[in-house]
């Protein structure tokens, strides 16, 4: 608890600072709202259509792939921390084999989605 308390205090301080900045501009700036200032910016034209239309599914795919590989990275962290000690104890090859199985499965997954075109950002086949 003692080691993490400064982080909590810092969140409060940094949050207070950011909040103070927000308040500062709200208080110090002039307030002269006009119609054109309050409308959507679309390079000077009248806005066409709503901003909540559908967007490309590529973003969703990127997010899903990120989650899968991030979980893999998270699982590799404890392994990486203990690898040095394990080599000293003589279990180095075992450690590599165990992580290697996990790793190979995910590398195969990466290879599969590469070939299937999930990582093609431009729409060329």
């Amino acid at each position: 608890m003692d080691t993490y308390l400064p982080i909590l205090i810092m969140f409060v301080i940094a949050g207070g600072f950011a909040g103070a900045f927000l308040l500062l501009s709200y208080l110090l700036g002039p307030k002269k709202p006009t119609d054109s200032k309050l409308s959507v910016y679309e390079c000077g034209l009248n806005p066409v259509g709503s901003a909540r239309e559908r967007f490309s599914v590529k973003y969703y795919l990127v997010a899903i792939l990120f989650i899968v590989f991030d979980i893999e990275v998270v699982f590799m962290y404890p392994w990486a921390v203990n690898y040095k000690n394990a080599i000293k104890d003589g279990h180095g090859a075992y450690m590599i084999a165990v992580m290697g199985v996990f790793f190979v499965m995910l590398v195969l997954g990466l290879f599969y989605e590469w070939r299937k075109g999930a990582m093609n950002w431009s729409n060329q086949a």
Binding site: I13, D70, V73, V81
Partner: protein, 422 residues
């Protein structure tokens, strides 16, 4: 009661000082970016802002920018989702400020009965904490893009967050090989284990991880050559289209704070953190007066040489107004500082150094070394920005997924095999 108060004061100082360092680095980096880019592009750069007639070579410009942005009108457009609109810059800035706590500034030193560690929170999962906070920075951008209810902002926010999460993977994987070498997640351990010998720092042990991490850090902080989300705001619009005044400046500050944090992380993980090259902490502590004397002599000589070199460029009449004095702004104080250090050494050099002061002197020197390295790395960020053109978005995503991710995985395999065979 006394130790409690001392403990409280120490914790407060350890919180306030990194925060103050970040807040000082931000205007300095804005100035460095503008002057440095001007130097690279062979033009003078900003040198007009003055306080009562004293121009400080453009150093006042960032503060003038801050003042201007503070007094601008804070427009909240009618179509935005108000809560998230206000929350987004709040998250961006506060998360960027909090990350600096776990980065060690100097070696832990024996103080009062225990050990004083020069990081605000000596958590044993320091690297994970920093990666987590960097991931939270994506929230700010995503919320800004979505809440603005503006097509350009939404697309800019989506693209920026997709870019950031793609390169976070390579960053995490590159860090894994550093952790394998160090055997610990705590940043202080990683720095201590690098030792003082430059040839044993992590950028020599694992150059591939260094390159991958530096490239991923460029992408994470939305700096060129990966600054399409930011460059879009120059070309069309970006995730901060609908923001004005202080909220925009908070995004701006958050970007520079992220740059400082990325530089600090690169320096800590790969370039030896607070380690002074070839000067081990214990050697320094036992012979503090000897090394300090020669350091100060070297610093005085460097200051005088730099000052003379800058002052020589002073030629009255080149511009015909106050801009003539610009080289002198840094030249004259450098010469004066060098001579002052020299006089101080001559006067105080005959007194021996008390033992407690030796530890503090070592700590101060290490803090200076760390900050100098961070500034150097920030200069590299700025240098690359003004040298390399921006890459296209699909090239960017291809690079992140098809090149850097397999390369980072290969690096882990190589590191594991290397460590086994040593």
């Amino acid at each position: 009661m006394d130790t409690q108060l001392l403990h409280f004061i120490i914790v407060t100082l350890k919180l306030v000082i990194p925060f103050a360092i970040i807040l000082t680095f931000i205007p300095l980096l804005v100035w460095l970016e503008r002057k440095g880019s001007a130097f690279i592009q062979d033009r003078p750069g900003p040198n007009r802002a003055a306080i009562m007639g004293i121009r400080l070579c453009g150093l006042i410009h960032p503060f003038a920018d801050a003042m201007k942005l503070m007094f601008k009108e804070d427009i909240i457009p009618s179509q935005v989702h108000k809560f998230f609109y206000v929350l987004a810059p709040f998250i961006a800035l506060s998360v960027a400020s909090v990350t600096f706590l776990v980065i060690p500034f100097a070696a832990p030193m024996p103080f009062g009965g225990g050990v004083l560690s020069f990081q605000a929170a000596n958590i044993n999962a320091g690297v994970l904490y920093i990666l987590a906070m960097t991931s939270m920075g994506v929230f700010g951008i995503m919320l800004a893009g979505w809440a603005s209810n503006n097509k350009f902002a939404r697309l800019g926010g989506l693209r920026s967050s997709a870019q950031m999460i793609s390169y976070e993977l390579s960053m995490g994987l590159a860090v894994i090989s550093v952790i394998m070498w160090a055997g610990s997640l705590a940043l202080n351990d990683i720095v201590s284990l690098q030792g003082a010998n430059i040839l044993r720092w992590n950028f020599i042990y694992d150059p591939l991880a260094c390159l991958i991490f530096i490239t991923a850090a460029f992408a994470e902080t939305n700096r060129t050559p990966f600054d399409l989300p930011e460059g879009e705001s120059e070309l069309v619009a970006g995730y901060h289209t609908e923001y004005s005044s202080m909220k925009f400046s908070m995004f701006f500050m958050a970007e520079y704070a992220n740059m400082v944090i990325a530089s600090a992380l690169i320096v800590t993980l790969f370039f030896g953190g607070w380690q002074i090259p070839f000067l081990d902490t214990n050697t320094f502590r036992t012979n503090a007066d000897y090394y300090l004397y020669y350091f100060l002599v070297a610093a005085a000589v460097c200051c005088v040489i730099l000052g003379t070199f800058l002052s020589i460029k002073f030629k009255k009449g080149r511009f015909g107004d106050k801009r003539d004095y610009e080289p002198l702004v840094f030249g004259v104080p450098a010469v004066v500082a060098g001579l002052a250090i020299f006089c101080l050494l001559v006067v105080l050099g005959r007194f021996p150094l008390p033992l407690e002061a030796a530890n503090w002197i070592v700590a101060v020197c290490q803090i200076f070394t760390f900050l100098f390295k961070v500034l150097l790395m920030c200069w590299v960020f700025i240098w690359v920005r003004w040298t390399v053109p921006r890459i296209r978005y699909d090239q960017l995503m291809d690079l992140g997924w098809k090149f850097m991710l397999p390369l980072a995985m290969l690096n882990i395999v190589i590191t594991a095999v290397r460590m086994l065979w040593q």
